[in-house]
């Protein structure tokens, strides 16, 4: 018998965790002498009050959908992929190579191949930790952390020594050609008669991210492979007994996870910066952890949590602009969300289970 109804597990616990994180964040804002109510109002106005704000919110959310899905797919296989940051960095390299060295006739074609390239590079970066976990039993958390740092060094080397245009001091690639410019939401929505802000960076990759959410849902719950991934994540001995190869499943799950993290580059490198810069990922790979925890590793949950974090990011930028609250407030909120929905999950769950058990006893 389940201790709690399913809705409590899926909706109530994340909601309570979120409220706890929000309350503590409010205390932090109070502690540095600012008004939390005014801060929330400013964040809502700045992130959701205009199509400009929405444009930024959705741009950030697109990044977080990819990295959140990456963490979620690995989590279903019982693996903690903390290397989304490095995989997204390498994905950026894939996008840059594809956009700079191949003359594309149209952005749509470039988008398909850039996404493939980004996915390929991201998956390749996840492949070694995955192989070491599957074959040699090296802890994937440690290897993916190490690979984040190695990725930063690789990217630094490639940008400074190989891809930097001559005469430029900036460690970044040249601008991508005009033909691979991805249409922004403004350009997409204008023909339909919806006026969307011109200067916001949200672009067609949002649709790719939503497509990725659908793909992950189909993969995990509607394919034999998804069944194998989930079995492995629930119990490795049981999966092995059922004839599922753990090496093969770990490899495939991590390759898909790495590819998803890498594909984030389509949004931030190709869609926004239109060149590859040193710190292109801006920690989005790590936010994927918070997003996946918050979204309970379900693609729809990840979608909602990504929008929530997109709102926090854009709102936090507005706060930093108009008040003396630094942008790092978002990092604190992110930490609290990870803490309550992840590490302190039992703190919320145990008392709630007791309440539900007591209620059931009362009915009988």
């Amino acid at each position: 018998m389940e201790k709690m109804p399913k809705w409590a597990d899926v909706v109530l616990i994340p909601l309570i965790s979120l409220i706890l994180a929000a309350l503590l964040s409010a205390l932090v804002i109070l502690g540095i002498g600012e008004d939390p109510v005014a801060a929330v109002k400013l964040m809502v106005d700045g992130a959701l009050g205009s199509t400009y704000g929405w444009g930024y919110t959705l741009y950030y959310a697109t990044n977080f959908m990819f990295t959140g899905l990456a963490v979620a797919v690995a989590a279903h296989a019982g693996l903690f992929n903390i290397g989304g940051e490095g995989q997204a960095m390498l994905g950026g390299l894939g996008v840059a190579v594809i956009c700079l060295f191949i003359p594309w006739p149209h952005w749509s074609l470039a988008l398909i191949f850039a996404a493939l390239g980004a996915g390929l590079f991201g998956a390749a970066w996840a492949a070694i930790p995955a192989y070491l976990q599957a074959k040699r039993g090296s802890h994937i958390v440690i290897t993916t952390i190490m690979f984040n740092f190695i990725a930063a060094a690789v990217l630094n080397y490639v940008l400074v020594n190989l891809l930097r245009p001559e005469g430029s001091m900036d460690p970044a690639t040249a601008r991508f050609p005009e033909t691979v410019h991805l249409p922004s939401l403004h350009e997409l929505l204008a023909p339909v008669g919806i006026a969307f802000s011109k200067s916001a960076p949200a672009n067609v990759s949002l649709l790719v991210a939503i497509g990725a959410c659908l793909f992950v849902w189909l993969l995990i719950w509607r394919t034999p492979l998804g069944y194998e991934i989930r079995s492995l994540g629930k119990s490795e001995p049981a999966a092995r007994y059922a004839g599922i190869s753990s090496v093969r499943t770990i490899m495939i799950a991590m390759l898909i996870s790495g590819a998803l993290a890498g594909m984030m580059a389509v949004n931030n490198v190709m869609g926004e910066a239109e060149r590859l810069v040193l710190n292109a990922t801006e920690g989005a790979g790590f936010i994927g952890i918070a997003v996946a925890l918050m979204g309970r590793n379900h693609p729809f949950g990840v979608f909602l949590a990504a929008i929530l974090f997109g709102f926090l990011y854009q709102g936090g930028a507005e706060l930093a602009l108009w008040t003396s609250i630094p942008r790092e407030l978002i990092v604190v909120i992110q930490a609290l969300v990870i803490l309550f929905t992840g590490a302190l999950d039992n703190m919320v769950r145990m008392p709630l289970e007791r309440v539900f058990l007591a209620m059931r006893k009362g009915q009988n």
Binding site: G33, I145, F147, P326, A343, L344, N346
Partner: protein, 321 residues
């Protein structure tokens, strides 16, 4: 490369290895007791800020050190509550602690000092000053060993000596005391320790708090001895290099010192020379940056001796199943 350059390089190796060593020993205590800790970075960062902030305000570096240790212990306690009491995921808790420290330090620094997330530069009594070993001055004239003693061994901050003395102390505590035996046992087989009537929870909390203490000293060293004040994200991945060193050393104290000195040397070389020419091949500085991580992956892969972590590491202990 002449003799003096080598001495200077090794001198800077010792300085750079010190925070790594303290954090590495911190992780050693925690992981030997079965609590994974990827939050070393966060605890160091928090301690770096509070030590610099209190030292800047009071002008007393010892009060700064205490404040740094206190803040690090607070985060260690949080890690303990999450991973021991509430049996949460230790890795996720570590990630949360890293972000919490990264955000809170800047937030509080901005609120207290309004200098864009840094503390004022520490002057006078706000910093740990070089500590001269006896006769360093008079022996420096002796050829050969004189400069080694005066330049390399003498003239570091007191925390450097504490860090290197902590290595035999850690070895002694872990391998020569009853507490150490129990601590190692709780990381291998907590049920056996429990059956023997020893508190698993108590031992694990003790290990986590020792970890917090050492991380606190490491952070204070960064902000008040190695540098003069706190700047945003000043740990710069040192917590993870310490973690790498811990695996490289296969969770043993003396080997941890070796690994930290090696990684410190890599940092010192990368700081001093940009690109290194070796027999016609140029080694880029990025390769030096990446080397500790690459070495760790190679060790983890088990191609050069296998690194086997404590058996119960990462698993919360449930008394009855």
């Amino acid at each position: 490369m002449d003799f003096l350059t080598i001495i200077q390089l090794l001198d800077s190796t010792v300085r750079l290895a010190t925070p790594l060593l303290l954090a590495c020993l911190a992780g050693l205590f925690s992981e030997r007791a079965g609590i994974f800790d990827i939050g070393l970075e966060g605890k160091m960062l928090m301690a770096a800020f509070f030590s610099a902030a209190v030292a800047a305000v009071t002008g007393n570096v010892w009060l700064g050190l205490l404040a740094g240790i206190g803040s690090s212990l607070l985060l260690a306690g949080l890690h303990g509550v999450a991973s021991i009491t509430f049996r949460g995921n230790q890795l996720i808790s570590g990630v949360a602690i890293n972000f919490l420290a990264a955000g809170m330090t800047v937030l509080i620094a901005q609120d207290w000092f309004q200098q864009g997330g840094r503390t004022p530069s520490l002057i006078g009594g706000g910093r740990f000053t070089p500590f001269d070993l006896p006769f360093a001055e008079s022996l420096s004239g002796v050829p050969g060993l004189g400069p080694v003693y005066a330049e390399l061994l003498s003239g570091h901050s007191i925390l450097v000596y504490i860090a290197f003395l902590a290595v035999p102390a850690t070895w002694w505590v872990l391998f020569r005391t009853r507490f150490g035996l129990r601590l190692r046992a709780v990381g291998e087989n907590p049920a056996a320790v429990d059956t023997a009537g020893v508190s698993v929870v108590g031992l694990r909390y003790a290990a986590v708090l020792i970890c917090g203490l050492l991380c606190g000293i490491a952070g204070a060293y960064l902000a008040t001895a190695l540098q003069a004040g706190f700047v945003k994200d000043m740990t710069a991945g040192r917590g993870f290099i310490a973690l790498a060193a811990l695996i490289f050393a296969k969770w043993r104290p003396w080997h941890a010192m070796g690994a930290c000195l090696l990684f410190g040397l890599l940092q010192a070389v990368a700081l001093r020379f940009q690109n290194i020419e070796l027999g016609g091949i140029t080694i880029p500085v990025q390769a030096m940056d990446a080397l500790p991580y690459v070495l760790t992956v190679v060790i983890l892969a088990g191609f050069v001796g296998k690194a086997i972590p404590p058996r119960a590491g990462g698993e919360p202990y449930v008394k009855e199943r």
